[in-house]
Symmetry: C2
């Protein structure tokens, strides 16, 4: 089995390097620019763009050609974190060990920084150096996953759970599939689309992304219960404090761990038809359940 490193770090460094040059133009008002870059350059695993690059590379796509699209996905992820932290949403003061965007720049600018990142993401996607029909297809798939049918809708469902005493595991699964899973899946599928993968391969990589997304979210819930806050970079027990319906709350920690491993295994199983070129994605599935932050 391929080790995750140094490939993960290399791809992550490509993403960091690329986004460090974004949003520097004079035409963006200074305060807004600082707010957008503050959150975009705050570190993090860069899992979504790495997934996009890795999936593209599996089908022969050149990382450099796909990089604008991959980094645009990270911009969309960043906007979602900024808006999720706002007082009218999760009202979180900390993100990645630093003040959340609205704590650092004020609520109005944080709202606009999110709006700006989401919009600039689509502008950046159009700069992807692949055939226009492929880029357009990838934008269509990604926008669907990020919007009201996917991530934004999932956030609305999550809000609807607040204050409810009885939320079923099925309801939580649906919410996670929309809120987190859709974007992780789309990170994989858009990479494959941009690399012009055939329909059968697209279905396989979508299945991989979907299962990986569930595993990832279960582990997120587990870490909120068990992690060292210094390693996690944010306060733990925030879900429990907010009385959120999580996997550990619903089925306990042991079952949660077993389920996470099962979904990661299913993710790897979806890649059965691929050769060693998919080993990095297999290693990533293993990492997803073994991570500590």
């Amino acid at each position: 089995m391929l080790a995750l490193e140094p490939l993960f770090s290399n791809r992550r460094a490509m993403v960091e390097e690329y986004i460090s040059h974004l949003l520097l133009e004079e035409t963006i008002p200074t305060h807004l620019k600082e707010a957008m870059r503050y959150s975009l350059l705050a570190g993090g695993k860069r899992l979504r763009p790495v997934l996009c690059l890795s999936s593209a590379q599996l089908f022969g796509g050149e990382e450099e050609d796909i990089l604008p699209f991959a980094c645009a996905i990270e911009m969309v992820h960043t906007y979602s974190l900024i808006h999720d932290d706002l007082p009218c949403m999760d009202d979180d003061d900390l993100r990645r060990g630093r003040p959340s965007n609205h704590k650092a720049f004020g609520e109005a600018t944080a709202l606009l920084a999110g709006d700006g990142l989401l919009t600039e993401a689509f502008a950046l996607m159009t700069q992807t150096k692949r055939k226009p029909a492929l880029v357009l297809h990838a934008i269509a798939v990604f926008a669907k996953a990020a919007g009201a049918h996917g991530m934004v809708g999932g956030q609305e469902v999550d809000l609807s759970f607040v204050g409810k005493t009885q939320v079923s595991l099925d309801a939580v699964k649906t919410m996670h599939a929309m809120k987190t899973g859709a974007i992780l899946e789309a990170s994989c599928t858009t990479g494959a689309i941009l690399a012009d993968a055939d329909t059968e391969s697209l279905a396989a990589i979508a299945q991989y992304g979907r299962e990986l997304g569930i595993a990832f979210q279960i582990v997120d819930d587990i870490l909120d219960e068990t992690a060292d806050p210094a390693v996690l970079g944010k306060p733990v027990h925030s879900d429990r404090d907010k009385n959120k319906a999580t996997y550990p709350a619903l089925v306990g920690l042991d079952t949660s761990r077993r389920l996470a491993k099962e979904h990661a295994d299913r993710a790897k199983k979806a890649l059965l038809s691929f050769d060693a070129g998919a080993d990095f994605l297999r290693a990533l599935a293993t990492f997803t359940v073994e991570r500590v932050s």
Copy 2:
């Protein structure tokens, strides 16, 4: 000179009909769906999509092919109104004579309705029935106009004026050019791009859109001072109450009226090289300064 009607009403009706079928899918959470449709279907002039359709038609584009893109522009406009009305921004309780989105659906859902409309707009743009390279070009131009360099940036500049006693006319012009002008200009240029207009024509139609945008904004400022609130559909004097730097506040009503007419004339002058096919756009420039709501 061509009369604005019945062409304006016809195009507006095409837009109303098309958007009435949007965002009905079961996969959107009900409360979110209602919030998105509440604002999208709240009426209004539909000026931006009408501009896009009219500009496309000038260069031989079929209205039906362009309609998804034109309606996506209206979705972006709608999201910007929802977010602008939020308590952390302009804190407006009324919009088009009804409770603003957050008053009707709560702040969190209003935020998500805006995010959802913006994201779904880009999904819809990809459905435009024109050559992928043209659609991609139009998305790139529109996203630039709607983002941190344009509309979102202009909103940040507008916020930076709050509480300032001395704001220059030049600063107000720049703010308007970003906040309102960029999208009006892009509504015209994307229509032309989608109809595969040549570079020279694109420059002319961009100039038209830019001047129209300035005229439009000056008249907006004037109407806030002088309009009948029942006709305008929102409270008047809201700018003055918020101590906003407007054209009437800076140069008086008479000069504002003269400037609006001058910019509308310049918009028409930009169309000099076009034949009677551009008469509708000429009539639209006249309407912009003569409108009462």
